[in-house]
Symmetry: none
Subunit: 150 residues, 2 copies
């Protein structure tokens, strides 16, 4: 998912966004409808906010606009823009190569790090070279990260 190139109008103005993208591409509503494989009246309604298209239609419209479907999903409120600080949690949760327990371990550690850093932040100037040796690692469930690091 990429949102980096988009400073978007507020979510909720999907139709405006689609029209804007279409006008930037300098194609007519009918042309986009044809390219997207949707009916032009329907696209018109979507652009004017009269209808709420399904994700599949969004996919098709995105294809017609040569933009990522995710951009439209974001506009439609189906997914959220990624926040840097929720990336890790979301990524861990989505990582199907991990077992549930492993995910939980990672999440727990991550969150305790964050908690620790919040406490540190209130007591400590921003560090610039904390690369090593400043943090004891919390033990969790007998999973000792040090042992793993070996």
């Amino acid at each position: 998912m990429q949102t980096g190139d988009m400073e978007l109008p507020k979510v909720g103005s999907l139709g405006e966004y689609i029209r804007q993208q279409r006008q930037q591409a300098k194609i007519s509503l009918r042309q986009l409808a044809a390219q997207a494989g949707v009916s032009n009246p329907y696209l018109s309604q979507v652009e004017r906010g009269l209808r709420k298209p399904s994700a599949e239609i969004l996919n098709q419209i995105a294809k017609g606009l040569h933009i990522s479907a995710q951009a439209l999903y974001v506009q439609a409120g189906l997914i959220e823009d990624r926040e840097p600080d929720s990336d890790v949690l979301a990524a861990i949760r989505a990582d199907v190569t991990l077992t549930g327990r492993q995910r939980q371990v990672l999440i727990d550690i991550y969150e305790s790090f964050r908690k620790e850093n919040r406490a540190d932040d209130s007591a400590r100037p921003p560090q610039s070279a904390e690369t090593f040796g400043d943090d004891p690692v919390p033990s969790r469930n007998g999973v000792t990260p040090e042992t793993k690091e070996g």
Copy 2:
């Protein structure tokens, strides 16, 4: 977007996936429906493939299952899967709320988990109930997503 990595149950078996996640979480259909805020008959139909839920319903179901909506979107074919390993690693690296040491610790743990899972996958008996562990899937990354802890 990469899909090559994931040997999930085929997209299209969204309902199976939801049921599976639900059963892993050991909750009844009604409980999940309540937690997700959808009607239980509808959820039943979705699980059996009789209905095709919108992205918003998927969102709600994901919330009820404590999994990411993206996982369900992938199953539903709304988005394509991402490389989980680059997600987590990239997210950890990008997370400015962590110290460098913390990042390294998380990365190390994550990598050892994955190594462990790869080794386990090749030589592993059926899991005990304790783990929500991976099914013995032939493919290295062929993971049947397990329920989340909660």
